[in-house]
Symmetry: D2
Amino acid sequence: MSMPWEGIVSADEIAAYEAAGFGRPQAQGKRPALLIIDVQYRTVGTTRLPFWESIKEFKTSCGEVGWQAVDHIVPLLALFREKNLPVLYPYVAPKESFDLGRLAEKVPALMGVAAHGYQFVPEIAPRERDVLLPKKHPSAFFGTPLASYLIDLQVDSLVVTGCTTSGCVRGSVVDAFAYNFKCTVPIECVYDRSATSHAVNLFDMASKYAEVIPVSQVMQHIASLPRASS
Amino acid sequence: MSMPWEGIVSADEIAAYEAAGFGRPQAQGKRPALLIIDVQYRTVGTTRLPFWESIKEFKTSCGEVGWQAVDHIVPLLALFREKNLPVLYPYVAPKESFDLGRLAEKVPALMGVAAHGYQFVPEIAPRERDVLLPKKHPSAFFGTPLASYLIDLQVDSLVVTGCTTSGCVRGSVVDAFAYNFKCTVPIECVYDRSATSHAVNLFDMASKYAEVIPVSQVMQHIASLPRASS
Amino acid sequence: MSMPWEGIVSADEIAAYEAAGFGRPQAQGKRPALLIIDVQYRTVGTTRLPFWESIKEFKTSCGEVGWQAVDHIVPLLALFREKNLPVLYPYVAPKESFDLGRLAEKVPALMGVAAHGYQFVPEIAPRERDVLLPKKHPSAFFGTPLASYLIDLQVDSLVVTGCTTSGCVRGSVVDAFAYNFKCTVPIECVYDRSATSHAVNLFDMASKYAEVIPVSQVMQHIASLPRASS
Amino acid sequence: MSMPWEGIVSADEIAAYEAAGFGRPQAQGKRPALLIIDVQYRTVGTTRLPFWESIKEFKTSCGEVGWQAVDHIVPLLALFREKNLPVLYPYVAPKESFDLGRLAEKVPALMGVAAHGYQFVPEIAPRERDVLLPKKHPSAFFGTPLASYLIDLQVDSLVVTGCTTSGCVRGSVVDAFAYNFKCTVPIECVYDRSATSHAVNLFDMASKYAEVIPVSQVMQHIASLPRASS
């Protein structure tokens, strides 16, 4: 599989990162948890439509690239369930009367999403005992008790999926890296409304913060782990 | 001034962000502080050289794009000093025998930088009463008391300069946004070893987190503020 | 008013703190916010009863000392509303199937509180535009976006009320102090199930972190401030 | 061993906490780290003197109770070294020209400690590869990368020693609890300038956040663990 940033980030730039010593591979962890970030109707729409159709339902939708990612998260999630490994859902909480701040100023469209836009996409919705983490800010760690849950679960690594690659996925990966959790991003399981931003953010994460690899390699690794006890 | 991401992020993608309601302008703040991130010899070299020459001295150097940014930070810093506004220097602390973790694994070259690489570039070095913030992770907020200093200084906004655009600048801007500090990035004052990453990260920040504008506009705004009392 | 810790902390100990330079008075702030922490039926009971009666309804109740504090919070809250100053309600969120960790281990009784125990005490319940902050841990700052709200509201100080003095009040005051928000604790507006712990925690906070003063002095200060614009 | 708070916290209050379900015992962890907080000359003096003598050297000294704690930390530290378990030293960094904020206001004496006051007490000083964590605020977690080090070290629990019981020890224990690290406080290894505050803070921690037990029981547990590999 060629990397999604090839042809966007130049060969010369890739060589420059290489020369500077970036992007060394990192072993995947032994006690991973799965993060599914913001996979709610508001980011994909209630039906599978192209981007320009989909944003008529929700301005925040990424359209069909989102549904393609959902297709890839389905078997990955099933594998985590089979192995009894933890699954956590950081998600955008419905806006409340007291929510203002920088977000309302910078992206006001985010303030008026209809209530059913906050529902989880049923194909990969949480079930009993999954950890739900409403959040107000991009990173799943910021202003949430995510780190506390991960420490309690004795997790050493995260597989990060969902959206957007350049927003909450990127923000969460940078914080996970700073907390010293090993981080893996399965390429097909993250999505964004801009193909260029998607590709370059994958390049940035691969260079500095995470293993960015095909989902098949992630599944191979998870499949090799023993089933966790309850 | 055309934006640095034009021609890299397609017109169609820019239109998609526009349609989704991103990137609305944000007023600059009334009590700004200046962040100068990681402008140390290790990121520009001790002399002004092209990238491929410069990394022979420090693998982590960005070379001449760094020095060009220094040239633009000089008058901006002078203006902050003239207005008696706070200046803070988050910087990479020299590695110690106990520093390992994800960073050492992902970018091992960062562990062996020579001691003088940690010196601040003299042209824009800190002086008495500037706040120095050694950091171990990308964001200037993570694992540092930066937020506490800003609250004590009654700052409402940050002007973020330094490097790298796709690394510590981006990470710090995302956290500043989450903390609800208004954030401005003067385009000419940040730098990166990859031109594409630089441009796309500026696009991401402009779309979601910050005002990304020419330094001349930032200086015009700062010049319009009253001089702060000591 | 004599201080609640007199007779519990010895005169000699108070002299020792004095000699070490602790407990210097701090000016109250100009843009205060009111925190009302955990004043839910679970901490006072649905009716005003003595401690040993009250814990038959909720094991976590503090009984009548809680209701006495509510009596004092009522006029303080009215004054904050009159001045159009921000009011925030950090509160204990109902436990969910995924909530385990140290809390469940250390205080298992906290896990089985009936649903109506999480209701706010009506006398001082939140209204439209007050900030609600569900929390999982003692400090109102830990794992919540409280700091972000305070920065957005341009608050410089907090008046901290609610319960328990030795638990969430103390934890929140220590974090507020670390963030550099000025902190005031109106003595009659905080409560605890142990009179000794209550008194000594007030002493600790007065010595190191906050102004601990009669509510009348707090109200006098708030009354002197101009009404905030909306 | 009777508990230090007996006779200070009344039997009735202890019964009230018991009835409310607090203070259940918690297993000690399998991968503990040792925190030695603020054991610097500034908190004990350069020689073993009674409190009122000792504060003539450093206003912040706790005097001989500090030296008694040092005596108990010596064999505990030796045992951690023998087992190759991690040792971390959160410590008060020397004040700099830009350090102001709430601390300077509340406890101005802390700002003028002589330089050698910041030296570690030699009997239990750090050695190569121990983690040093300069801090500006009470909790060892606040504004420091402590959580990141603990996650990288795959620690599940902390043994917390040093000073003061009612200050940085208490603050660090509350944060460790919130992060879901199991916390043990060996009674003889923590110290404070107020005997009452010391006792009541131990009671609070025992009730809500930590195992508070004689150091002999902690050493028995650590001795039972296998030696960690490097």
